[in-house]
């Protein structure tokens, strides 16, 4: 329940940005409680404390030094990725700002800043919901916030075949399930790589309970 509350709070905070993934988080937790599946609960979001040395120009000194420092920190850090922690979604608070050190010659001051932030990092084996951005004969690409996911046609169920045309798609032989651009799919991550600005994932939908969850053409 604690997890639940936290994710709801997150939902309020960053609704606009990662609504979909946060809903995933909440939903998968509900599911997990129903099936007593504690081990598998999605934990892509983390609230952690990070530290960074901020260089501040002397013109920002004065009454608003702290505000300036924090806004610069947000500008610098939010939306970036680190291989270790993943994508920094938002800074939620400042733990402490250390003593500034004046750099020789430039007048810049370096402050060690400890801050709390929400990071997003997908892990292998996790289930994720994503929006399909491109479908082609190799498979399809999907996006979930900053995450780029590729699902190769090896990892799409064998009964789904590629259909070229104006709207390329993967369709089952009876036509009941269709994956095309803007479809929402639930997939499982089988590999991740975190870059400076992007997170790449390899996904699969060749498993139970994976696949299309919302078909734009049906809506």
């Amino acid at each position: 329940m604690g997890l639940m509350l936290r994710s709801n709070a997150l939902n309020l905070l960053f609704e606009d940005r990662f609504c979909l993934t946060l809903v995933v988080l909440a939903r998968s937790q509900i599911e997990s409680r129903n099936s007593h599946q504690v081990k598998r609960a999605a934990s892509m979001f983390f609230h952690i404390v990070l530290e960074r040395n901020m260089q501040l120009h002397p013109r920002h000194f004065g009454r608003n030094l702290r505000e300036n420092l924090v806004s610069k920190l947000m500008k610098d850090v939010e939306g970036t990725c680190s291989g270790r922690h993943g994508f920094v979604v938002a800074i939620t608070g400042i733990e402490n700002i250390g003593k500034g050190l004046i750099r020789d010659g430039t007048g810049f001051v370096t402050f060690p800043v400890k801050y709390q932030c929400v990071v997003f990092r997908p892990f292998k084996g996790e289930i994720l919901e994503a929006v399909v951005t491109m479908v082609n004969k190799m498979g399809f690409f999907a996006e979930a916030g900053p995450v780029q996911i590729f699902v190769s046609n090896h990892l799409i169920p064998d009964d789904m075949e590629f259909q070229s045309g104006d709207v390329p798609n993967y369709t089952t032989s009876d036509g009941s399930v269709k994956i095309q651009k803007d479809s929402e799919v639930r997939l499982k991550i089988i590999g991740t790589r975190v870059d400076a600005t992007e997170i790449f994932c390899i996904g699969t939908i060749k498993d139970d309970f994976l696949g299309v969850i919302n078909d734009p053409s049906a809506a």
Partner: protein
């Protein structure tokens, strides 16, 4: 996952009346979910019945040893008689179709306690010395499709209880049944249960539980990275990568191999085998839809661009005549500040693309930069109907200053290329339809060494109805219809290059051409490009003058040969006649290409 799916039904049958206090009645909460689903869904992998008598691929088994050969397509159990008093050795050979994983498992059974001790299973791979104290470890290390069989083997062993069977014949039979039946089929286990007395049943149950535990550890130890890495190294061929991860197993790949497909998505690479596989699949798909592939060049073929700085004073008037970017389908002259260019679309291009898209899957392939290529694609295809993710730019090619079909996911025998530069396609000249260059802007004319006034300066343009694109569209339609309607051989064996060759050879059919003052002296005549062009167009060339000659190609009407042609009433044409016929795919009217007498003569 598949393994769990197939295992769970039988597990729940073996322990239907287990007290709830028993730990791990269900090995994992998820398995219950899978269990409930497995009834409705067919098992993810079915085992085919074994063929009648395939020869075992291994050395004959030792006496007193039962050997079971397992591979995804068959299960053979050479019967071996056994005395239950002797120690029984059961061996399981597992081989997979790809041959990557050949392992042999052996278990020894004590004659007094003839339950096979699975813990003592020894696995050794045929190629290397992979062994594990726990067999399940190794089994789990195989891919999911093999997992099923692996687990079935194990289940069969588990039910091979003393009261029921002591000979390895039964053991083998169990394997057969287990493999033949689907995962929902529980006959061997039920049978075993009925036959057994309560005592052995309890022992067995414990056994199964034990198995369960160890297996669960392995299965849910999917996170156990070393294991996973081991399995994937052995089983995944890494057909391609996305962000340096294998597209099938997700494993990180360090060495960069294969061809980059940056134009589809950044970070996507595919190996040649995968490309071929995709091409073959695609080919079937295309032929089904009666489509071929068309690769289009941008500059001088579909449009003409100039940098804003290169506009001549005479062209400045164009700035006020540019069309709105709001609805690009209506205009043809655009000012693109983002890439600092002014672009003129070739007349007829919208109709051309629309009609060609019915017959072809189209790619753009340009030597321009990616940003430029995307801007142009937006102009040509605002709705992204034709070229979505099929815009190849200079950055995507595999060779410098060359265009290649290796980045095009289409069988070369089905690709047509439309380009104005023959040299860019040295490897694929047979696929190429050469276009007459479209020079609208003065800078473009100068670039190619023409000193005449450009179309923009003359305030004119190519004809909409019989310009180059309209002509080529007719040729494309013709090639397409011959390919699909007139060829008699199998659709897959047809080659668009042959069709193109045939169509081309009809252009100057019946013409016999003699050249005069066209080739430099001492030049090997039949090496000249005009000579070759005439031959490609179906005409014949000659150096001899005789009655059969139909055309005299000359740059000067005053030469001896030219005068002979006039006297004999043969066509006297300029070399441009050949080029024009080549570009328009039609024998051009000879009177439009007169030869003038040079004063000097």
């Amino acid at each position: 996952m598949n393994g769990k799916n197939s295992l769970s039904p039988s597990v729940s049958r073996i322990q239907p009346d287990d007290p709830p206090s028993l730990p791990r009645e269900f090995p994992h909460p998820q398995s219950r979910r899978f269990h409930s689903s497995s009834a409705a869904r067919p098992p993810p992998c079915t085992v085919h019945p074994p063929p009648a008598a395939p020869p075992p691929p291994f050395a004959p088994p030792h006496p007193g040893e039962s050997t079971v050969y397992l591979s995804p397509l068959r299960c053979v159990s050479p019967s071996a008689t056994n005395d239950s008093r002797k120690p029984i050795i059961s061996s399981v050979f597992i081989s997979t179709t790809n041959g990557l994983f050949d392992a042999c498992a052996t278990t020894r059974r004590n004659p007094t306690d003839s339950r096979p001790d699975l813990r003592s299973f020894e696995f050794s791979a045929a190629d290397s010395s992979i062994s594990a104290s726990n067999p399940l470890r190794l089994l789990a290390a195989s891919s999911s499709s093999q997992l099923i069989r692996s687990i079935r083997i194990k289940m069969s062993l588990a039910t091979n209880s003393p009261a029921h069977s002591s000979s390895s014949d039964d053991f083998a039979a169990f394997l057969d049944v287990a493999l033949d039946s689907h995962s929902s089929d529980s006959s061997p286990y039920e049978k075993a249960e009925h036959d057994n007395n309560a005592e052995s049943e309890r022992i067995k149950r414990r056994k199964v539980e034990k198995l369960e535990n160890s297996e669960e550890d392995i299965l849910y130890g999917a996170e156990e990275k070393s294991l996973e890495v081991l399995s994937k190294q052995q089983l995944c061929s890494h057909p391609g990568s996305f962000g340096n991860m294998c597209i099938i197993c997700g494993q990180r790949l360090d060495e960069e191999s294969g061809v980059t497909f940056g134009y589809i998505h950044r970070g996507l690479r595919l190996n040649n085998d995968e490309i071929n596989r995709l091409r073959n699949i695609d080919m079937k798909n295309l032929l089904q839809h009666k489509k071929l592939i068309l690769v289009l060049d941008l500059d001088h073929t579909l449009l003409n661009s100039t940098q804003l700085g290169h506009l001549t004073p005479e062209e400045e008037y164009l700035r006020s005549q540019t069309d709105s970017l709001e609805d690009v389908t209506k205009g043809s002259l655009f000012l693109l500040n983002s890439v600092h260019t002014m672009t003129k679309l070739r007349p007829f291009v919208h109709t051309f693309l629309k009609e060609a898209s019915q017959l072809f899957e189209m790619y753009i392939y340009t030597m321009g930069e990616r940003a430029y290529a995307f801007e142009m694609a937006k102009l040509l295809d605002p709705k992204r109907e034709y070229f979505s993710a099929k815009v190849i730019s200079r950055d995507d090619g595999t060779q410098k200053h060359q265009k290649g079909l290796d980045v095009v996911l289409g069988q070369e025998s089905a690709v047509l290329i439309l380009d104005d530069t023959e040299n860019a396609w040295t490897k694929h000249k047979e696929n190429l339809i050469l276009m007459e260059r479209y020079h609208f802007f003065a800078s473009s004319c100068h670039q190619f060494g023409f000193n005449c006034k450009s179309l923009s300066e003359l305030k004119s343009d190519e004809s909409e109805t019989d310009g180059a694109l309209a002509t080529i569209l007719k040729v494309l339609k013709q090639v397409h219809s011959i390919f699909f309607n007139e060829l008699s051989d199998d659709l897959v064996d047809r080659d668009v290059r042959q069709v193109l060759k045939t169509v081309r050879s009809k252009v100057l059919e019946g013409c016999k051409v003699v050249f005069s003052r066209v080739f430099p002296t001492k030049f090997q005549a039949d090496n000249h490009h005009l000579w070759k062009m005439v031959e490609q167009l179906g005409g014949t060339c000659s150096t001899e003058l005789d009655r059969s000659v139909t055309h005299m190609v000359s740059t000067d009407a005053g030469t001896e040969k030219s005068r002979w042609a006039l006297k004999e009433e043969k066509f006297l044409v300029h070399p441009r006649w050949i080029e024009a016929s080549n570009y328009f795919w039609k024998r051009q009217a000879e009177e439009n290409f007169p030869v003038e007498q040079t004063k000097k003569q």
